[in-house]
Structure formats: structure tokens, C-alpha cells
């Protein structure tokens, strides 16, 4: 079928970035994620939606092993990034997180200058041998996060002095500075006003050129706007995963229908 909508740009269904099979997550006795198998595509925005407690954030955190930091959390099943097992004993979670960047709900810049916020990752991962190299990375990252024009004259000022929307874009710049392949976003706009939200959404669409982006959002409209693929979670199950267009016009599962139309599910 001919596709006339620019914002929907066709995605390559074959280009799998993250492959998960029968993933289970337990918090102590609580079975938080049940048998989740999904292929997340490269150069695509995938939205995870679902009611609070459905497991979408938990599942997102499996992808960069953030659940490792919770003592009672246990992950089973297979998660592969480019065919490599993320949970293999030979994988260093810190190196993994350089490849799989993350942006959180509340902007959380380090109490450092704007420059140092962005330079932090490249420094600890040894990506910039000289100061000039680091300058290049900082500028490129701030440009990618659409913050360069606003921040270029105040790089040494504290990151915490920026507005909320700017802080979130700073966090995105920080996340992309290590040249990740995947960007995980956990409700990146829930603390932002509509203008800052629109700027971050515009940014997400640009980031898709280079990254595989996975976004958890409570705003169904946001999922509909920014993503090409949508996954609906409910009570720890992946209920439905498909093209965003299909999910929002003609979902297959009645639970998806109830949730996205705002009915009691």
C-alpha cells in the first residue's frame, strides 16, 4: 500500500535490534513479567503502553540490566542485542549501558556544568583522547538533542540551572554522547509542559534515524504520535504488539481496545 504519511515512514520489519524470548521477571515472589517475547526493530521508535504496574517499565529496564541494581529482582529467559545475550556472564553491565542509553521520567542532570554532564560518559568510557575530541562530542551530542543553540554560550553553567525541558534534552544529549545503539526512555515527557514535550517528541523522531528508540509512556496520544510500533502490556503480559497505526485504529485484542479507548479494562 502506498504510504502518504511522512511521520509514519516505513520501517524495516526485518531489521531486528533486540530479540527477547520468554522473558520472566520476579521481584521476590511477585511474577512481574510473564513470557514476554518480542522483536524490537532498529531505527524504529517502539512505544510500551499499559496501565500502571503492568510491567512496561520493568521490561524496559531488562534491556540495559537496570534490574540488576534491585537485589530481589530476578530475570529469566533470553534477551539478545544484535544476537548477543545481554545477560551472558561475560557481558559488563557498564559497557552494555554505554550501548543502551537511558533517559528517565524526571530530568536528572548531574550537579555539574552543562559541558561536564555531556562529557561524563565519553570520559569514563575513554572515547575522547584529547580535549578537542571531547569538544566535538559535546557539541555533536548537544546538537542531536536540539540544545546546542540554547546552551552553546553557557556550557560552563550548571546543568541544573536549565529549564525542565532543557534539562531533559540535556539528559538526552548525555545519553547519546556515548554513541549508544539503543535509547530507552522511561516516560521522558511526564514532567514537561506541552511545548517542551513537543520538542522532545521532535527529537525522538530525529533520533530514530540513528538509534533504536524504546519509549515507555502513559500518554497514549504520545505513543500514537512518536512510535511506529506499539506494545501493550497488561498484568505482566505482552498482550499485543504491532504497527502503531493498527493498534490505534483496529486493535486485535479486546483488552488493548478497552485500554486505548479509555474503558474500564
Amino acid at each position: 500500500m502506498k504510504d502518504n504519511l511522512e511521520g509514519r515512514k516505513l520501517v524495516n520489519q526485518m531489521d531486528v535490534k533486540i530479540e527477547t524470548r520468554d522473558v520472566q521477571v520476579f521481584y521476590g515472589d511477585t511474577h512481574a513479567i510473564k513470557d514476554v517475547s518480542v522483536d524490537i526493530l532498529d531505527k524504529t521508535v517502539t512505544a510500551f503502553i499499559g496501565p500502571s504496574g503492568c510491567g512496561k517499565s520493568t521490561f524496559l529496564r531488562c534491556i540495559n540490566r537496570m534490574n540488576d541494581t534491585i537485589p530481589i529482582a530476578r530475570v529469566e529467559g533470553t534477551l539478545m542485542l544484535d544476537g548477543e545475550d545481554i545477560y551472558h556472564s561475560g557481558i559488563d553491565p557498564v559497557q552494555l549501558r554505554a550501548k543502551v542509553g537511558m533517559v528517565f521520567q524526571k530530568p536528572n542532570p548531574f550537579p555539574k556544568s552543562i559541558y561536564d554532564n555531556v562529557a561524563y560518559g565519553p570520559r569514563i568510557h575513554g572515547l575522547a583522547p584529547t580535549k578537542a575530541d571531547l569538544d566535538v562530542i559535546v557539541e555533536k551530542s548537544l546538537r542531536r538533542a536540539a540544545l546546542w543553540d540554547e546552551a552553546k554560550d553557557r556550557l560552563q553553567e550548571p546543568g541544573t540551572g536549565l529549564s525542565g525541558g532543557q534539562q531533559q534534552r540535556l539528559c538526552i544529549a548525555r545519553a547519546v554522547a556515548t554513541e549508544p545503539e539503543v535509547l530507552l526512555m522511561d516516560e521522558p515527557c511526564s514532567a514537561l509542559d506541552p511545548i517542551a514535550t513537543a520538542q522532545v517528541e521532535e527529537l525522538i523522531d530525529e533520533l530514530r534515524e540513528n538509534f533504536s528508540v524504546v519509549i515507555v509512556t502513559h500518554s497514549m496520544q504520545q505513543a500514537a504520535r512518536v512510535s511506529q510500533k506499539t506494545a501493550f502490556f497488561h498484568l505482566g503480559n505482552l498482550v499485543e504488539y504491532g504497527d502503531t497505526d493498527t493498534i490505534f485504529t483496529n486493535p486485535v485484542d479486546p483488552r488493548t481496545e478497552s485500554y486505548i479507548t479509555g474503558r474500564i479494562g
Binding site: A224, F248, T249, E257, T261, I264
Partner: protein
């Protein structure tokens, strides 16, 4: 379609209200078709005038529905079956508005025809054709309420019969006009009336298409059943005929 209610009950009320208006509009349009055909058959100028005046209410309902749908989209951002409902209501209301216009047109010509000598039998045939379109409309509105794709699909296929009735009338009018040129004026009006009913049938088919989309999420794939284009063939036949 789910039987569950929206968490925001005002959303339910808004959707119900706009659909109630659509059904009211459907009822008025059915009545217009019925009355215009009846007025034609019985040469009832008063009834024809009533149909003409009644079209205003149909038009204003369409405007109201259109504004209410715009408001629903702006305020509620409907998705999935809600989105399909709003889209379907908008398209069906515009189909109904057109059908209403055709009925009005029939009524106008009826007022002219009532001043001319009657053409034997043809008003009855036109009325049967109108009756079929009216039944199809009634069934597609039923299918809408029940979200019944099978019934809607059945209606889509009945349009072929209307097309065939139209083709038969086309031939009949040609014959009358050839028999006696004094019939030409009446037959031209009657032909436009038959054509209007045939077009109304197309709009009813489009309503049925929308019901299939509403119920299943996909537009019917097979092209709308079409006749063999007999009137066009007849045109060529005429030229070669002495």
C-alpha cells in the same frame, strides 16, 4: 465494539448523542424517499412540498453532526472503535444528506410532472425502485446499530438490483419517447427521477461500506457490485438502429 463504558462517562454520552442524531437523520431520509415516491405515484403536490421543506431539517442535522464530530475529535482524541465510530458517523451523515437532496429533487420534479399527462405504469415502477432503496437504507441503518458486517455486505450486493431496475426503466422511457414525442417532457423528468434513485442507491451502498469498516476495521475489498452498463450499450445500439 465493546460493551464496556468509558471511564469518562461524558465521552459515552457524547458518542451516544451524535449517533442518536445520525439515526434521527436516517429516519428522516427514509421518510423523504418514501414520501417523494408516494407523491409521484399519487400526484400529490402537497406531499411533494412537504418533502422539499423537510430537507432543511436533514441538512441542519448534518451540520450539527459534523460540528459534534469535530468537537469529539478535538476534545477526546478517539481511538480504535471510537475513532471508527466518529469517522463512520461523519461519512454516513454526508451520504444521508445527499440522499435527502435526491428525494428533494424528486419532489420538485413531481410538482412539474403533476401538471403533465401521466405516463402509463412508469410511476409505479419508479416507486418500486424507490422502495428497494428505502429498504436497503433501513437495513444498513439496522446493520449500523447492530454492528452487523454480514447484513451490511448483503445490502451492498442488493445495489445491483437497483441498477438493473434503472436500466429497465431507461429502456422503457426510450420506448415511450419514440412512440410519441409528446411524452418526451414527462419522460425526461421521470428519467432524472430514476437516475436520482439510482444515485441514492449508490450512497446507500456507501453507507453499507462504512458499516463494514466500522464493524471490522477494514473497508470491503471487493469492488462494489456493478451492472453491465446497459444504458451505455443502449446508446451505441441507438446509433446503429434505423
Amino acid at each position: 465494539m465493546t460493551d464496556q463504558h468509558h471511564i469518562a462517562s461524558a465521552f459515552d454520552r457524547d458518542l451516544e448523542s451524535v449517533q442518536a442524531q445520525l439515526m434521527k437523520m436516517g429516519g428522516l431520509v427514509e421518510e423523504s424517499i418514501r414520501n417523494s415516491a408516494k407523491a409521484l405515484k399519487t400526484r400529490d403536490i402537497e406531499l411533494a412540498e412537504q418533502v422539499r421543506k423537510g430537507d432543511r431539517e436533514i441538512d441542519s442535522l448534518e451540520e450539527q453532526i459534523s460540528m459534534d464530530c469535530a468537537s469529539l475529535i478535538a476534545r477526546r482524541q478517539p481511538a480504535a472503535s471510537d475513532l471508527r465510530t466518529v469517522l463512520t458517523v461523519m461519512r454516513i451523515s454526508s451520504n444521508l444528506e445527499r440522499i435527502g437532496d435526491y428525494a428533494k429533487n424528486i419532489a420538485k420534479r413531481t410538482e412539474v410532472l403533476a401538471q403533465l399527462p401521466p405516463i402509463e405504469g412508469s410511476a409505479g415502477a419508479v416507486k418500486r425502485m424507490a422502495k428497494e432503496v428505502q429498504n436497503m437504507l433501513s437495513d444498513s441503518l439496522d446493520a449500523y446499530i447492530k454492528r452487523d458486517a454480514a447484513l451490511a455486505d448483503e445490502v451492498r450486493h442488493r445495489d445491483l438490483e437497483v441498477d438493473q431496475m434503472y436500466n429497465a426503466l431507461f429502456r422503457e422511457f426510450l420506448t415511450f419517447m419514440m412512440e410519441d414525442p409528446r411524452n418526451i417532457s414527462s419522460c425526461m423528468h421521470l428519467h432524472f427521477i430514476a437516475k436520482n434513485i439510482e444515485r441514492a442507491g449508490d450512497h446507500v451502498t456507501s453507507v453499507a461500506d462504512q458499516v463494514v469498516y466500522l464493524a471490522t476495521g477494514v473497508m470491503p475489498e471487493d469492488p462494489r457490485p456493478k451492472g453491465n452498463g446497459a444504458p451505455y450499450d443502449l446508446g451505441t445500439f441507438q446509433e446503429s438502429d434505423e
